[in-house]
């Protein structure tokens, strides 16, 4: 019973969202709202301003470089988090460390 209710809920959600999608400016053409002056700027001036012919790279590292810095920090945080969960200083190592001190 519970399963059926959840399924109905999800299908209803899907239908609602699809109705929303049919309202959207979805056609993948040049007059989509997302293809606006920002993109034209990137495509026209990207090569001259950054010197990179791959515009995706130009945007990643130059125009939106701060995002990428944040994303490397996510990786850094992930390493620290995972090792804080998994890496247990085993007793042997601890004793050895104390000996050194």
């Amino acid at each position: 019973m519970k399963k059926i209710i959840i399924w109905i809920l999800f299908i209803a959600l899907f239908l609602i969202l699809s109705i929303g999608i049919f309202d959207m400016p979805t056609s993948p053409t040049l007059d989509a709202p997302s293809y606006n002056e920002t993109i034209h700027y990137y495509l026209e001036n990207g090569v001259n301003e950054t010197g990179a012919i791959n515009i995706v790279t130009a945007v990643i590292t130059d125009y939106r470089g701060f995002d990428t810095l944040g994303e490397t920090i996510v990786l850094f945080a992930a390493i620290v988090a995972v090792s804080s969960v998994l890496r247990i200083p085993s007793k042997k190592n601890e004793e050895e460390a104390q000996k050194h001190e």
């Binding site: 309202d23 709202p33 997302s34 990137y42 470089g65 701060f66 850094f76 988090a81």
Partner: protein, 493 residues
Amino acid sequence: MIEQLPIINLLLLLGTALIIPLFKKRPFQLSLTLCFLVLLTVLVSSVFLLIHVLEYGEFYYHFGNHENLIGIEFLIDAFSAFFTVFVAALVLVIYLYSWKDKTEGIENKEFGRYYILLFILLFSIFGILYSNDLFNTYVFIEILSITSCAIISIKRKKETYTAAFRYVMLNEIASMSYLLGVALIYMITGHLNLERVATSLQSIWPLYSTNIIIAIGFMTIGVGIKAAIFPFHIWLPDAHATAPSTSSAILSGIVVKIYILVLVKLLFRVFGMEIVEALHIKWIMLILGSAGMIMGSIFAIAQKDVKRMLGYSSVAQIGYIILGIGLFTEAGLQAAFFHIISHGIMKAALFLSVGVIIYYKHVQKLKDFEGIGYQMPISMTVFSFGALGMVGIPLTSGFISKFNLGIAVIDANLIFFLIIIILSGLLNVVYYFPIVISAFLKDNKEMQKIPHIEKVPNIMLIPILTLGVAIVVLGLFPNLIMDIIVSVVATLF
């Protein structure tokens, strides 16, 4: 030079996080002092920024000298500058407490990692507050969620793992729905900058209203899960109860509030009043807020564990904040912001003083708190101040925020919610007073025989006392920060 201060703040925090691992072989004290100095510098520079902003007005910071059409932008105005000062000050106090706090399951060797995580967490909070870009906010939110989970699971106890796991799952669902919302917004506006999105949303709102409604739904639910707004609060009590006390103080005092501030930014800066009114977001928030106030308090009464009780109390207090924001008036927002500050201070005081008690007595159940006031007078006094503030007794900062909220509700002609505020205050009395009473007033002769065992190092006591004093000072002179809050709120309208 002053234009560079925000990024210098961020880089200082990040640099400290990167440097700490190098200190492994060096004396531990050195790195602790370094961290302290960095935090102090950050606090001073944020205060400086706040003064500058209040005097000369807001300014923008453009990364790589690209304008906001193509690049990422920081907006430093009274809103972000004020809350960064609050966050930096509170973290500094909590940091001082954790200096000697080799307690509660954080092993000695873990402290390096704990501070790395703390600094990255602070970095991301500053980023969220400054950022004026939807996707940049998403990146910072992800950093914040991974670090805030990690400072829970750093305590190697059984329960922490399951609590942290649940927190991670909900966090990730929330992030994904936020990102889907950003995608929908980007699809129709083609911008990611908050101001540009806001202007273009105003013009296309009649065209793509279904789309915008769905986007708003996804984004607010995503942020709402992270902010533990009432029906989405299920992760909060577990996470707060099992985390180490310092982490609980940070999570409850700061992290949850940051997500609420993100919600405020979205509602006021991006969607704008027209859309908010058309969608009746006001009523949704008012109802959810008041439901949280009542239900959180009722759940809290049933708890036996003191930290779990504090967690449910947080749910109730978040309800107050949401209620204040949901009024969508200046008075309501002022009350909500004041409550963000005062609740942050009070919850930090409560969690830290409970931390001291747990450290020395190894008890966490409410029934073990009998007569503890004789044994540990200082921390229990601070606890009582926090508890009185939560209830809203005059002379504490909690009273001021509830008073302001009440006035805001009356101004908005919604008397019904005044009743709920009073009812919730009474429920607060039900679960906070018994602890205080049993701790101090239990006439137990055995208890008086036991000499007080409070041998807490000064470095731990000073932060607790600072927080206790801050509660009273804010209760007596609320205008110290109320004047700033008025100008902060003015930036949002």
